[in-house]
Structure formats: C-alpha cells, structure tokens
Symmetry: C2
Subunit: 319 residues, 2 copies
C-alpha cells in the first residue's frame, strides 16, 4: 500500500500515526511511504525490527496543498508519486488524506479510467440498521449528468455486491421525496435513466429515496447522488453524530472512501483525518485489494451496456 505522507490537514503527524497503527494491526500489510525521508525514518524508527521489514520509502518532498487547484497534482508531488508506484506495479493500492480533487486528478491521469466510466466516483459505506449503505458519489464528480448518475448506479451496485457482499442490492436515487417527479431537473432526468439501465449482481432500481435512507438503509442498499450533495451530506451526518454524543454502535460516518472508475485501488481519507481514520483508510485499501474489488467491479461494468456518447445536457466538468 502506497501511503501519501504529506496528504491531509494535519500531515505528516497524523498520517505517520495512522500508518504505525495499520502496520501493527495487520501482520500481512506492507507499506510504501511516499514523502520526505526524515518523516519516513521517524515512522520506521518507531517500529519493531520485524515490522520495519514491511516498510519501504519513496522520497518525495512536495505536496499538493488543500487550497491548491487539483491540477497542481500534475506536478511532482507525493500523491502523484504514489499513483506512479501503483501504475508501475510497485504498490497494489494507494491511500491519501490530501486534497480529494488532486488525488482524483492524479489517479485519473496516472492510472487511466475504466472503459465506459467518464467520471470517477468516490464511494463511502455507512453502517445502517439493515446492513451497509453504499453512498456515491461523495466528491469525485461535482456536476454529473443523468448518464453519469446511471453509470454510477451500475458502479455502486457492483461495489455493494463485491466489496460488501450485499445480495441483490436495492439502488435508490437521492431526492426530496419518493414520488416520481420529485426533485430538481437533474433528478427528474436521471430517474428514468436509472430505471432503464441494466444493473449487475441481481441489483434493482427502486426509485427515489430521501435523505434518511443514507443513515437508515431501510429501502436502499445503494444511494446514488452527485458528488457535491454526497460530500456535504456525509459531513452533515458526521456533525449530527458528534452532536448526538457519538456515532451509533454500528459505526459512524466513514472518513475514508474508495475511488472507483480509475484503473487501480485508490482510497481517499478525509482531509481532517485522525490517525484512526488513516488506519481505517489503509485497512479499506487492503480489504479492496485482497477481494480484487477494483478489477471485479471493472469487469462487471464492461458487461453492462452503456451509452458511449452521453447526452448533450451532461454538465460535467473535468474532475
């Protein structure tokens, strides 16, 4: 697992702490630390001799700041070096708590996109009452069109089945009411598009769902929305759990999300990640890689017909 030592608001300290926890918890885990040598050396110095053999270093001194434009990731940076390590087969996956936009851009450019996925999606999994709820997109693509939302429905269904073993996932489109026709123009256009698209893994589209569904999961296992709405929603849920005195015992809002649609296993942690969040991001990347989730989901998508020339009203911008 390639770990971006300089990604995140409180990097490198928080990333170092998180990486230490991950190495100590998972005896099969090998890390490639991407960042300044002295930071990596500090981390390695804190490990037992056996654990040290599972850590290597790729020295890089420059990071993409949270306020930088995502295209800053085109220059030499920790996140770009981590992407290259995955591309070159030196690492199996990468984890960064840096700027989401920069990670998405670096991964899309460096690893390439899947056939038939024009826009990558960040996928978060919430522990709901009846099992996991897969929420996408939470920040990969801010302005999808209906065709992209339909493609993300396919992607989310495959991910729920492959990564979380959800049988015959129920897929819903997030809107302001459950009755057909509720919502803004994007939702009104996307509802029939999602209803028409064949879904893999026995999944079925159940129509519009409301905001409760993301936490409760009573009606849907996969909730599809645009990356702007998904991102603010996830953080609002996190705020609500903080206000309520802590998350439910089943777990709170995830602070690590998988990037789907690029040819490699990529996990993005919350910019305000704590060491536990970084460790759980590394664990998620290892889980996905061991399940072969990225390859399996990608293969499932190839079997689903898609419109190679999406509608003209698609208002997406480059990630």
């Amino acid at each position: 697992m390639a770990v971006d030592l300089l990604g995140g608001d409180d990097a490198p300290a928080v990333v170092v702490d998180g990486a230490l926890r991950a190495v100590r918890t998972d005896p099969d885990l090998h890390l490639l630390l991407v960042g300044p040598t002295e930071v990596a050396d500090g981390l390695i110095g804190a490990l037992d001799p056996e654990q040290r053999t599972r850590v290597t270093v790729r020295p890089v001194r420059t990071a993409v700041g949270m306020a930088d434009h995502p295209t800053a990731a085109r220059g030499e940076s920790t996140v770009r070096a981590a992407v290259h390590a995955v591309r070159d087969g030196i690492a199996d996956a990468l984890v960064s708590a840096g700027s989401t936009g920069a990670t998405v851009t670096a991964a899309a450019l460096g690893l390439g996109r899947w056939t038939g996925v024009r826009r990558p999606a960040l996928v978060a999994t919430l522990p709901a009452v009846e099992g996991p709820v897969v929420l996408l997109d939470v920040g990969g693509t801010f302005e999808p069109g209906p065709a992209t939302l339909a493609r993300h429905a396919v992607l989310g269904a495959a991910y729920a089945a492959v990564a979380h073993a959800v049988a015959a996932p129920r897929v819903g489109l997030l809107s302001v009411g459950v009755e057909a026709g509720k919502g803004d123009r994007l939702r009104r256009a996307a509802d029939p598009a999602l209803a028409a698209v064949p879904l893999p893994c026995g999944a079925r589209y159940i129509g519009l769902v409301e905001g409760y569904e993301v936490c409760l999961g009573a009606r849907a296992d996969v909730v599809v929305t645009d990356g702007f709405t998904g991102n603010v929603l996830l953080k609002a849920i996190e705020g609500a759990y903080a206000m309520a005195g802590g998350p439910p015992t089943s777990g709170g809002a995830p602070r690590a999300a998988a990037l789907l649609g690029v040819a490699g296993t990529v996990v993005v942690c919350h910019g305000a990640a704590r060491p536990d969040d970084v460790a759980s991001g590394i664990a998620l990347a290892a889980h996905l890689w061991r399940r072969g989730a990225t390859d399996t989901v990608s293969t499932l998508l190839e079997d689903v017909p898609h419109d190679s020339a999406p509608d003209r009203n698609d208002t997406e911008v480059a990630p």
Copy 2:
C-alpha cells in the same frame, strides 16, 4: 392560524392531533381549520367549551396529493383556501404539512412575493452547540442561481436576527471545503456574490462552510444552500439522530420550516409529520407572527440593494 387539515402523509388524523395539542398548550391561540366539516367537527368535539370558542372552520373537501404536480394547488384545495384566508385577513398565518411544492406555489400566487425576492426560501432552524443555526433553503427553490443564493443570504441573516435574536449573524455558503474555489460551478459563482452583497443586522459573510456546520454551528449562524441540497441534508441529519438513538438534548432536526419571500406568515411541516411536529409548526407560525417576523424581515430586505435583473446563468425554474 389557518391549518390545512388535509396536508400530510397521515392527514387528517395527525393534523387533528397536532392542532388539539396546539390549542390546549397556547391559551391565546385561535385556529381556522381548513378541511372537511366532519373532520373539523371531530376535532372541536374533543375540546373543552372554552377552547371551542377559539376554533372556527372553513369547509373544503379537496387536497393536493403528495404526488400531484405543485400547480395542482391552483385548483380549489385546502392549501389554497388557507392561503386565501391569510390574503383576506381572516387568518394571520397558515400551517400545512402537505406537498411543499403545492404550498409554495399556492402562497406565491395567492399572497404575492416580496419585492426583490424572485424565489422564496424555506428556512429551517437547527439547535446547534453555540445557538441556533438557520439553514436555507430546505426545499423552496431547487435550482437557484448565484443571485438567488446571495438574496437568500440576506434573507437568512435578517431571519436569524429577527426570529431568533442572533446578534451579528455569521453567514456561510455550504460547500465541500472551506478554501475559496471549492465546490461545483454554482458555489464558485455564488461565493463572490455572497461576499459582495451588503448584509443586514450587522451580519457578515464568512465564506464557505462544510456539512458539519449545519449541526454544530461553530463557524456560522446562517448556512446558505440550494433547496435540493438543504432538503436532503435536513432529512439525513434526522436519520442520523434516529440511528444515534435520538436527537441531542438541545433538540433534533426541525420538522417545520418557515417560507420566506411571500407576503404572509407561512409554515410548512414535514410531509411525514407526527402530531408533535404539527403542533410545533403551529407554535412556530404563532411565534413568527407575534414577533412580526415576516414584515420585519421583508422591510429589512427592501433596504438592501439587489440586482433586479439577475445574471443570465440563473437556472431557476418556477417553484
């Protein structure tokens, strides 16, 4: 207070229960029940003789269904009759748990809009750590442009000061990060628009805020967003509190919201309202009317210069 007996998923039973609670709790409250005579008679029969003198009836048999198009409110219906009662001075305010779109449409057509407010906003107040957080829009206008969001910032600041006595409200624009430039095209265009608009009541614009802010209120007292995002966010917070075993002691997600931008006091309750929610909606309407909130906010807005010809990129649709 005119009460729409037929509005809501579980109307009239839930509305009757809620209205009973409101009449019993507030000895100064007078209700105008708008709906079928037999429903109103059932409610009145449950009251003490003194309380009965505070209730009158306007018989109407037709409601706008939750699945109906909002323009169905143009026909004869309970919500339209309630709006006319306010317009004609027979009622001071109206409360409905029916279709939000239908209520917004009926109110905008029947009462007229404020000068300089092209799009009404539904305003919800959440009890955060440091005091109330005013969230708008939660479902009045799904596709605002930057000019409308700037106008809603003015509106939210005035409402926070007038309805909740917040001194010098801090106003934030909901986005996916706090750094300037974060967000989709609407947020990138709205950020400078909000920074440029003069705010009333000593309010100041503090820039972009994230989803946590809506529950925690650490940085902002007023959070501005589009009606689609605000609506799904509010319901997600409600779901999170349900998952966490109940709302915090300071209170949960509100299930009644004030409609601002129309010439009258209008409160919209959640379609899935319970009797308590209807009672709190009636109490909110009474609170706003007693404070003269609608008139005061409207007057404050007239003093703030606005662009009478909003930008061409404004993508709003009629409510």
